[in-house]
Amino acid sequence: MTAQYDATAAMEIVNANAPGAACVDAGILFLEPERLVEAIEALRDSEESDLIFLSNLTAVDQELYFEIVYHLQSLDLNHILQIKARVTDREDPALPSLTGLFHGAHLQEREVYDLFGIRFEGHPDLRRMFLWDGFPGYPLRKDFLQMPGQVRAGLPGFPHESEENAWPVPGSVPQRPMHPNDPQPEGELVVAEEGEESS
């Protein structure tokens, strides 16, 4: 079975080569975006971690920040490590490209750029991949468009269709709308008293 590589051991390898570039929170390794390349290079070249195979690269829009998720695999030692990096700038999110380390990051980074609008600095061919140049917006962002039946807020239409369809003011942090699973505010529910007819 493929073992999960210990995040603390990985943090020690990274911090020996790039002090302060890594930290561990709840068993997950987080890297500083500015020092991502040297940190992952240390993990790739270290004999203990030997993470030579970039299995997966994707992003998650967590609304207050973008989370870039890497899954790195060692073929000989058969373990996998999940690495995350966070970018808070929504107006022009950017972080270094891994294409210098892994050729396999090419198309995966282009996909993230296409669908999330996250720039990978140093990528040799960063263009839109599935959508055409000039497509308005980045679809996998949570504030892209209001989909039918969607519980989260989004735009009612594309920005070029009406002036009212404008994304949140650049630089402002979008507010996460109320989700049905969130703790409900107290005191708003009116519970019928015993004997009283509820409306």
């Binding site: 079975m1 493929t2 030579i52 195979f53 970039l54 299995s55 997966n56 994707t58 998650v60 829009d61 998720v69 899954h71 073929l75 058969n78 999940q82 892994f102 050729h103 396999g104 990051a105 090419h106 198309l107 995966q108 996909e111 669908l115 991949m129 599935f130 959508l131 055409w132 679809p139 996998l140 892209f144 989909m147 039918p148 039946g149 969607q150 519980v151 989700h179 049905p180 699973n181």
Partner: protein, 386 residues
Amino acid sequence: MTTADDTRLAMQGTIEALTTGDGSEPVVVNLGPQHPSTHGVFRLKVTLDGEIVQDAEMRIGYLHRSMEKLAEERTYTQNIPFTDRIDYLAAMSNNLAYCLAAEELLGVEVPPRANAIRVMFAELQRVASHAMANGTFINDCGAWHTPLFHMFRDRERVLDMFEMTCGARLTTNYMRIGGVAFDLPDELLPTLEQFLADMPENIANYEALLLENEILHARARGIGVISPEMAINSSLSGPVLRATGVPWDLRKANPYCGYEDYEFDVPVGEQGDCFDRFLVRMAEVKESLRILRQVVDNLPDGPWLADVPLHARPEPGESYARVESPRGELGFYLVSDGGPAPYRFHCRPPSLINLTALKEMSIGGTLADAIVTLGSIDIVVGEIDR
């Protein structure tokens, strides 16, 4: 005053310039999006110097259906049919990978019979998908449809078995979170027994027809070569990686659904060229039949679906599950925020990532070789674009 010799020398220089490419303009040729050799709506923009490929750039997105966005607004069970349409030639493997990721999030225990049925259909799917891959590859090499239709007879029988089990042939939607949708029908096992009895002879026929074929050797040997180091660095997986000699198979490395209980080998190639990819796929069909034999002989009784609520709400968290699909390492990365639908649904598509090295494989060869290389990677455009 020019002499005849000067004229002759000047003409010779022009001819040399035209044939060696010095001073001549490169020609850009668009293969696709509607072209029989691109296996779907996929465009390859090739820059040619004479017959030699200088640059190959792919343009994709013609089949983009925004599945990852749509899946964020549907429940975990409602998302299973989407996975059929990601890779429509290996729907069972895609169902399986997604269900494994959802089960990891939900902490569901799958009954043993369901695991055996899943292995059975994943391997049948591999036989069908490799029949398609090898058949179209031979087609690209110039054998006009005869081997393709021989292999399609086997694929047809597999699809018949899918139809009798779940009613659909291509987009099966058969796996469920916690097991499979239906138990095996009574007529399936006799049909499968007959299939397993007939297949060794069919494979022997294909091997007699193709393995020594001079034209196939000339078209595929030494074409589209990639080194093992470059293949690992490019995140290639599946038969394309194994053809370079790297024995990386998730069924062995990270067994799921009880693959550790079955005996099978991981076939690898030696040279990492198109012919080795073809050989690896042929050998994998034989290994799949070996696994199928063991599944049929040790099929456990019992329930085939665990008790999972239809509108399951997993705890906030994330999961990344991978299977060895016919095309390579197929992964699903799910993020849950505690709601009824996944907060993020990502598919790690082996077809797309295997194309990373297409440019390196094609440059320096002829245009005809680039088509053979593309055929040997075995892409499914639905999975590339999603």
